[in-house]
Structures are given as structure tokens and as C-alpha cells.
């Protein structure tokens, strides 16, 4: 078990190294363009470009350039943005992380609980009105674009019904750090959480239902029934446990991607200064150092989330353990 974990961690570090090389090459070794000019941004002075070329070692070999870049990203952390004169990039990304992490983690709790409920209830009451109703609701949840749902939520909670008992507690848009006020953090995030989770409850609920129904045609479910176990026990201990693997796989990918910036739309709609929003603005300004930092940060999160998922596999399914 421990060996599996260690092997997986080593693998993860290897993949992260590969990604950093790839990202570096895409950004700085694309033929036919001058990386120094791109880092300097639009309408930069020739002296600035020249300074950047020396600073980043673009006049030296590629491995040296890579080493300099990684040193500035991870060791000295003094990569600076030239579009926003002299602003340090790494602190900017690190400042954005808590908002994104709070948003995604909260939404993830909601969507895991919600989709487990939807999937299990729908599968248990298969082909009844309850099942059909839940599936239609899920489909509606999947179909609603998150930016639209977010704006509707804002319209209702910030404007139309803000003065009623229903939404009078909702604070203005924006993120409240957890360290500042736990209650404020919670209130500021409840509606973004729900908005982001709705889509995933729909997707995960439907997939879980399909997996459970497939599990119910397996021989071991018949064995469990022949043993005289209660339907609840058969569902939770026999069918659900074996149906969780695809669920966990998807969760790892989605969670990693969302923390890595895919929650952009939700962050923009609710004015949360997270990683997605940071990337969004950097892209608008062609702020290359920020884009580089967020891309590497995002890919690392996806890789890490997948490593965690692989370890969870071993917990869920003994056949994976070796």
C-alpha cells in the first residue's frame, strides 16, 4: 500500500516535470517569435525588450533558459509582469488561490452529496415518477449555462428579492477571506457554490444512476439478494461501492480543472478574485508571465488531483491494491 502511494507520488513529480518542460517550450521556444518581445507586452520600449532578453537568458541555450525560468517561478519567485509594471506574479497567483479553492471545495461538497442522493434515489426508484423527475431536473441543471444561472441568482438575490426575508442576508458580490470572518466567507460563497454545483449534480447524478443500474444486473447483486439482505444494504454496500470508480475518476479531473481556473465564469459572475479571473485578465492584456504561472499552477493541480484519485481507487477497490 505504502509502496503504491510512493510510486504514485514519484510518478506525479515526473509528470509535473514533463508538463513544465512542455509549457516552457510552447511559451519560449516557438519558432518565429521573440519571447522577450512577447513578455514585454504590446508597445514596449526596445530597452525593455533588451533588458528582458538578458534577464531571462534568452541569449543563452534552451536548458539554461528553462532553469532560469523555473528558478524564478519556484525558488526566487520574482517573476514580474511587464504589462502591470513590475508587479510580482507569484504572490498574485497565491493571493487568488484561496478564493478559488473556497469556491470549488464548497461546490464540490455540495455536488458530491447532491449527486450521490440523486443517483442513489433515482436508481433505487428506477422507472417511477421520482426517477423520471430527478432525471429531468438533472438534465435541466446540465443545460443551464453557469454564467446565465449565476446572473439569474444575482438578479434574484441582489436585486429583485434582496429586500425580502429570503435574500436579505446575501452580502454584496466579492470574496470575504476565511481568516477575516467565517460567517462572511460562508454567506459570500453560498450562492456561488450552489450555482457551480448545479451542473455537476446533474452530470454526476445521471452517471451514477447509470452505473448503479448496470451494477444491479451483476451476479453479485443477485447473490446479495439471495442472501436475504435488505434493499438498503444491497444498494449502499454492494452496488454503490462498486459504482463509485467512474464517479471518483470524474471528480478528480473536474476538481483539478476547476481549481486550475475552469471556474472562471462563476468567478467573473460573482466578482470573486480567483485564479480563473486572474487568467482571464492576463489573457486580455497578453500578460505572458502571469499566463505562464497560472498554466503551470493549473496543470499541477490537475496532476495532483489525479494522483489523489488513484490513491482513492486503492481504498475503494481492493483489486487495484498490489
Amino acid at each position: 500500500m505504502l509502496a503504491t502511494v510512493l510510486a504514485r507520488l514519484a510518478q506525479m513529480i515526473f509528470v509535473m516535470f514533463g508538463i513544465s518542460v512542455l509549457v516552457f517550450l510552447i511559451f519560449f521556444a516557438t519558432p518565429g517569435s521573440d519571447p522577450a518581445a512577447r513578455i514585454a507586452g504590446r508597445n514596449a520600449a526596445p530597452e525593455t525588450v533588451e533588458q528582458i532578453r538578458r534577464e531571462f537568458g534568452f541569449d543563452r541555450s534552451l536548458p539554461v533558459q528553462y532553469a532560469v525560468m523555473m528558478k524564478r517561478l519556484f525558488v526566487t519567485r520574482d517573476l514580474t509582469s511587464f504589462v502591470n509594471r513590475g508587479q510580482k506574479v507569484i504572490p498574485q497567483v497565491l493571493d487568488a488561490v484561496p478564493a478559488t479553492l473556497s469556491l470549488v471545495a464548497g461546490a464540490a461538497v455540495l455536488w458530491v452529496i447532491g449527486s450521490l442522493f440523486v443517483g442513489v434515489v433515482a436508481a433505487a426508484m428506477r422507472d417511477t415518477v421520482v426517477d423520471r423527475g430527478l432525471m429531468i431536473l438533472s438534465l435541466i441543471g446540465i443545460s443551464m449555462p453557469v454564467f446565465w444561472l449565476g446572473e439569474v441568482m444575482n438578479l434574484l438575490s441582489q436585486s429583485r428579492f434582496h429586500d425580502t426575508w429570503l435574500f436579505s442576508w446575501v452580502p454584496g458580490l466579492g470574496y470575504v477571506p476565511l481568516s477575516e470572518s467565517v460567517g462572511g466567507w460562508f454567506k459570500a460563497l453560498v450562492i456561488p457554490w450552489i450555482t457551480l454545483a448545479v451542473l455537476y449534480i446533474g452530470i454526476y447524478g445521471r452517471i451514477l444512476r447509470a452505473n448503479l443500474i448496470e451494477a444491479y444486473s451483476e451476479d453479485y447483486i443477485r447473490t446479495a439478494r439471495a442472501k436475504g439482505l435488505s434493499p438498503t444494504r444491497i444498494m449502499l454496500r454492494h452496488a454503490l461501492r462498486t459504482s463509485l470508480l467512474p464517479f471518483v475518476t470524474m471528480f478528480g479531473l473536474d476538481f483539478g480543472a476547476l481549481v486550475g481556473g475552469a471556474a472562471l465564469l462563476t468567478e467573473v459572475v460573482f466578482g470573486l478574485n480567483g485564479v480563473g479571473r486572474l487568467t482571464f485578465h492576463a489573457l486580455q492584456n497578453l500578460d505572458l508571465p502571469v499566463i505562464l504561472a497560472t498554466v503551470i499552477y493549473a496543470s499541477f493541480f490537475v496532476v495532483a488531483a489525479n494522483a489523489v484519485v488513484d490513491m482513492l481507487y486503492a481504498v475503494i477497490d481492493p483489486r487495484v491494491r498490489k
Binding site: 422507472d127 451483476e218 451476479d219 453479485y220 443477485r222 447473490t223 446479495a224 439478494r225 439471495a226 442472501k227 436475504g228 439482505l229 435488505s230 434493499p231 444494504r233 454496500r237 454492494h238 461501492r241 462498486t242 475503494i316 477497490d317 481492493p318 483489486r319
Partner: protein
């Protein structure tokens, strides 16, 4: 004494073209301590009949009618909650394929224990001791360690032993074994059959043994029911049916066993043709199309002939049978 009495059992599945009857008016009984062999080819309705008795068919798509009484209690009308108490405790099931019959994510110890705990209020420690005992009964080496193994860590034969141990865990009065040896190697088959026979003695359970192998029936069963296209076409004590089979289908089944004595045959006999598709409504005998001694009258429902416990659904009488039945080896 009769333990299980099944009368006029009829099972139909809902299909797009309306209900599809796959088991027609099946009746059989199982006495206390008796082994009933049910034989027939795939799709003859032998598994479906027994699953319907156990209430294990999907209720939304199947209709089961008839009378099933177990210890004078009618099973088909029992509410789910009551049926659950009987399943696993009084009637146990051993599935065909041991590779898929156990839940892959739980240890075999946990799977045996949960069955015992579903029916009896016993402490964890006592359950574990009993599970060890059961595994020892089915001759699994090092039973204490085996309890903490997962199904994928065991071979097919070992898994079938575990399935048997699980079935016997509550000392059921009746064990339904659905082709328990079909998925196993020949050498392991013999071991599992030996084991079943020994355990029947020690645990005193009656057994319904579903199989397509006449050899297994000859070795294990007291009585046999031959099923064809959803009907019991012949039934009786094993010795009677093997010495003097009445139904031409039984002749065919017996002729397809290679003889152990006498000259070596060229090709082994196989019954020509295919069984009718389920749901084909035939007024007469379903076997007529493949029967070597079919007569025009076979297009009408065949009568049940009987002599004591030996019964068959066929028009042929004793004299006609003697003439019509091919001599052993002549079919080859």
C-alpha cells in the same frame, strides 16, 4: 415429507410484443433431504423457474403465477420483507459463475458474516468463528487467513467453495444450486460435487441441482425433472428415468453422453435442430419438430402419462416406445 411444492408455475417476461411466457405450468416437489436434479439445455427455463420461486426475478418485468409452497407457506404471495427472511436462511442459492457471484470489494469473511448477521443476532466474534468453521467445512486451506482475502485473490474453485460455504452459513433447509460446476475445470468439478454431496449429509439440506449434464444428475440426484422449452417433459426417480426413459428428448440427452464401456463410437450423438424461440405459441408438443418419432397427433397438446412417480408429457405408449427408441449407439 414434502419441503417445496411447486404447482403450475408460469413465468412470463414483459416484452415489446407483449408478455413472453418462458415457463409453462411447471410442477415439481422436493422432499426433505432429497436431491432433485433439473436438466435441460440453455433457455429451457430451469434457472428462471427456480429464481421465480426465490422471488429473485425483476418484479417490474416478470409475472409469476401458480402455487409455490415451502413448509406449507405460500411463497408467491409473501411480502418482500417476509421473503427476505426466508432467502438465505431457509433457502440458499449457489450461482453458476463463481467468478462474478461475489462482490469484488469486500473480503469473503465480511460477505459470509453479513449473511449470518442478516438472519441471526450473534456477536461479531461468534460470526467470525462460524465463518472459519464454514470455510473449514468446504475444505479451504488456512481458513482464518482466507477470511480476510478478497474474491479476486482466490481461484474459481475456491470461490465456488466460498459460495457454497456462504449458502450453507444459516443451515438452510433447501439449497438451490444453479449449475454449480459448469464454470469450473473438470477436476475441480468432481471436487465440488463431492463436497456438495458430503455437505448435504452433514448439513441435512435438500438440494435442487440445476444442470445440463445428465452425468451430474446420475451421480448426485434422487429424482430428476427434464425440462424442455419451459415445460417439465419427464420426471421421476433417477433410476427409472435412466433405465427406461419415456420422452424422446430424454433419449436424446442420454444418447449424447459418451458410453464408458463397449466399442468407441465415431461421433457423439447430438439432437438435431434448435429449441423453439421463447414465446412461440405451439399448440402441440414443443419437441415435435426435432423428435425422431414425431406423429401427426403431436401437433395437439401431449397427455401426461404416469406410472407411480415416473411421468412424461408424450403420446408414445409403452409399446410404441419400445419400438421407437433407438438402441444405444444406433443414433450415432
Amino acid at each position: 415429507m414434502t419441503l417445496l411444492d411447486v404447482n403450475d408455475l408460469r413465468v412470463s417476461f414483459a416484452s415489446e410484443r407483449g408478455p413472453l411466457t418462458v415457463v409453462h405450468d411447471v410442477s415439481f416437489t422436493v422432499g426433505t433431504g432429497e436431491v432433485l436434479g433439473i436438466v435441460g439445455e440453455s433457455g429451457s427455463g430451469k434457472t428462471v423457474s427456480l429464481l421465480s420461486v426465490l422471488g429473485l426475478l425483476d418484479k417490474r418485468v416478470t409475472t409469476v403465477t401458480g402455487q409455490v409452497s415451502f413448509r406449507d407457506q405460500s411463497l408467491l404471495d409473501l411480502p418482500d420483507r417476509e421473503m427476505r427472511k426466508i432467502r438465505g436462511r431457509d433457502i440458499a442459492l449457489i450461482s453458476q459463475d463463481p467468478m462474478t457471484a461475489l462482490t469484488p470489494v469486500h473480503t469473503i469473511g465480511a460477505q459470509i458474516a453479513e449473511q449470518i448477521r442478516a438472519h441471526e443476532d450473534v456477536s461479531r466474534k461468534a460470526v467470525r468463528a462460524r465463518a472459519v468453521e464454514l470455510l473449514r467445512d468446504v475444505r479451504i486451506p488456512a481458513p482464518e487467513q482466507a477470511l480476510d482475502r478478497f474474491p479476486h485473490e482466490l481461484s474459481g474453485g475456491m470461490r465456488q467453495r466460498v459460495a457454497i460455504a456462504m449458502a450453507l452459513s444459516c443451515n438452510p433447509a433447501l439449497v438451490v444450486a444453479d449449475e454449480p460446476t459448469t464454470a469450473l475445470d473438470t477436476t475441480v468439478q468432481a471436487q465440488v460435487l463431492d463436497l456438495l454431496r458430503a455437505l448435504r449429509q452433514s448439513h441435512g439440506s435438500s438440494v435442487v441441482l440445476i444442470t445440463h449434464d445428465m452425468g451430474v444428475v446420475a451421480e448426485m440426484a434422487d429424482r430428476v425433472a427434464v425440462m424442455y422449452a419451459g415445460r417439465v417433459v419427464e420426471t421421476g426417480p433417477v433410476a427409472d428415468v435412466f433405465n427406461d426413459p419415456w420422452h424422446p428428448y430424454t433419449w436424446g440427452l442420454l444418447a449424447s453422453i459418451p458410453p464408458l464401456t463397449g466399442p468407441r463410437q465415431g461421433r457423439l450423438y447430438s439432437i438435431p435442430g434448435m429449441p423453439p424461440a421463447p414465446g412461440t405459441a405451439l399448440p402441440g408438443c414443443a419437441y415435435a419438430a426435432r423428435c425422431p418419432s414425431a406423429m401427426p397427433i403431436c401437433q395437439t397438446p401431449p397427455p401426461e402419462q404416469g406410472d407411480g412417480a415416473h411421468r412424461a408429457l408424450c403420446f408414445l405408449d409403452a409399446g410404441q416406445r419400445a419400438k421407437a427408441r433407438p438402441k444405444a449407439g444406433a443414433l450415432a
